[in-house]
């Protein structure tokens, strides 16, 4: 490990360890009850006990988040390309996008759960799709509008088709913007997948496990699932970050 990497990696880890130790000491010394705040050691013990269940809950929630993330992103990019090309579509979509942007998922989740039935994953995936759509659409559209007039003139002088303009100039230029939107969307995808489970339906994901553990006063277990949720969010975030770096190198 070289020294700059060590400087970037070691301090955050050290801070994390110090915080965990302080947390443990605080809980033990002040005799804080588990329903207020369980000790890290108790959460860690639960992590080992529930490991198989935690894994399957992370997979279930993760799959919902992934399906919604992909669907929302594809929809957002296709509509952003359409809106950037056709002014009428842009004007048509603008108020709808604004409306979608302010839809609270806590309001939508119970309604959709009723609509699709309690045994379906669909309402959760629809919610993630809606939540993901807005930041990806807004950023992609902004990126697609970055084409310089000189580049537009150049492609016209080459008698390039609109499709060629899109694939050789507009989309590659918009890539950094698309990935900015995707980075925001990836964390939102996991959060909304978890929150959408709070309103009934299947009991297979992290959200439903957290609510049922808390309802049964199994606080260290609830925290262990929260830990799983953090890990899942980090996986999604780093994956899109890595994908963005790869894409900007390859475009």
């Amino acid at each position: 490990m070289n020294s700059t990497l060590r400087l970037r990696v070691v301090p955050p880890i050290a801070l994390g360890v110090v915080a965990l130790v302080a947390w443990q000491v605080l809980v033990v010394a002040a005799d804080i009850q588990p329903y207020l705040l369980p000790a890290p050691s108790a959460i860690a013990a639960q992590l080992i006990v529930i490991a198989p269940a935690l894994w399957s809950a992370m997979l279930a929630t993760g799959l919902n988040a992934l399906v919604g993330l992909v669907a929302g992103t594809v929809l957002a990019i296709v509509l952003a390309i359409t809106a950037s090309r056709i002014r009428f579509i842009d004007q048509l979509l603008a108020p709808i996008i604004a409306a979608i942007a302010v839809v609270p998922i806590v309001a939508l989740a119970p309604v959709l759960t009723n609509m699709f039935g309690a045994t379906s994953e669909t309402p959760r995936r629809v919610i993630v799709t809606i939540v993901v759509f807005v930041p990806v659409f807004v950023n992609t559209l902004r990126g697609l509008r970055q084409v310089q007039p000189v580049q537009r003139d150049l492609l016209r002088s080459y008698a390039a088709s609109r499709w060629q303009l899109t694939t050789t100039v507009t989309l590659p230029g918009a890539l950094p913007y698309i990935f900015t939107g995707l980075n925001i969307a990836s964390s939102l995808a996991v959060i909304s997948a978890i929150v959408s489970e709070y309103f009934g339906g299947l009991q297979n994901g992290l959200g439903s496990r957290i609510t049922s553990a808390a309802a049964n006063s199994a606080y260290p277990r609830a925290w262990a699932y929260v830990f799983g949720a953090i890990i899942l969010g980090l996986v999604f975030y780093s994956a899109t970050l890595a994908l963005g770096r790869l894409a900007s190198r390859r475009r």
């Binding site: 000189v150 580049q151 003139d153 150049l154 016209r156 002088s157 080459y158």
Partner: protein, 265 residues
């Protein structure tokens, strides 16, 4: 058949403050292999005329023929190469990939593209920078990439809109000498828009002097400095005589302010 024949060209633009006549009854013929500069103060319509020839804008009335065809057909047939004041390189493409862009768009296969690009990179003297990206190049080097790109499809007509406008004096003179050499090697006709009198005189067979509001051709001055234009030409009497003639044509009658907005670079 001439490279470009513009006849009675009128171009008006609708703006917020009314109708602007950018070009009024402009006629110009450029022969094959001829180097013609368009010079005049800002707003004289020289860039507009170039854009009409390139079919980036459409005439209001009159006609523009390029190699005997309509400007639109000539653009669709890729009869010209073009370079702008800003290089307009795609920042995510290497020098080679930027030069290959027009070839790629027109379906030239990979090996042929790379061969042509490396030829052009040598021509503009950027051999070591084939795999560099635009942000790693100076302004002059970026402009050389843009010129190489404009030559990619061996056009018989080059349209250049102040390609050296943003460069410093020394780079500019070196680029002018290179352009003279490149034109001699390719035999292409060139229409070159500039603000600079010495640049126009150094490069051109003929200098078209334009006046603004509305844009018109005031005079066309033949500069017969011969084909062997080296750096020493810039210090010869014949060069200064032509510079003076162009300057007088630009300024018109003494006391007129038509020449304002021009620099003496």
């Amino acid at each position: 058949m001439s490279a470009v024949v513009a006849t009675g060209v009128v171009k008006t633009f609708q703006t917020g403050s009314g109708l602007i006549t950018a070009l009024d009854d402009v006629s110009l013929t450029v022969e094959r292999g001829e180097f013609v500069s368009l010079i005049g103060p800002s707003g004289c319509g020289k860039s507009t005329l170039l854009r009409l020839i390139a079919d980036l804008d459409v005439v209001t009335s009159g006609s523009v023929e390029v190699f005997g065809k309509s400007a639109r057909q000539a653009r669709l047939d890729q009869d010209y190469g073009i370079a702008f004041q800003t290089a307009g390189l795609l920042p995510w493409r290497s020098v080679t990939a930027n030069i290959e862009l027009p070839l790629q768009l027109h379906g030239v296969d990979g090996p042929a593209r790379r061969a042509r690009a490396s030829e052009l990179i040598e021509l503009v003297g950027l051999g070591e920078f084939a795999t560099s990206f635009p942000e790693q190049l100076s302004g002059g080097m970026q402009q050389r990439v843009a010129i190489a790109r404009s030559l990619a499809e061996r056009p018989e007509l080059l349209l250049m809109d102040e390609p050296f406008g943003a460069l410093d004096e020394m780079t500019r003179e070196r680029m002018q000498s290179e352009l003279v050499r490149i034109c001699a090697e390719t035999g292409a006709a060139v229409i070159f828009v500039t603000h600079s009198i010495p640049e126009a005189v150094f490069l051109s067979d003929r200098v078209v002097v334009m006046s603004p509001r509305p844009g018109r051709i005031r005079d066309i001055i033949t500069v017969a400095l011969g084909d062997a234009r080296g750096e020493s030409l810039r210090e010869e009497t014949s060069f200064f005589t032509s510079v003076t003639r162009v300057r007088e044509a630009l300024h018109g009658a003494p006391g007129s302010d038509v020449g304002r907005g021009l620099d003496a670079r």
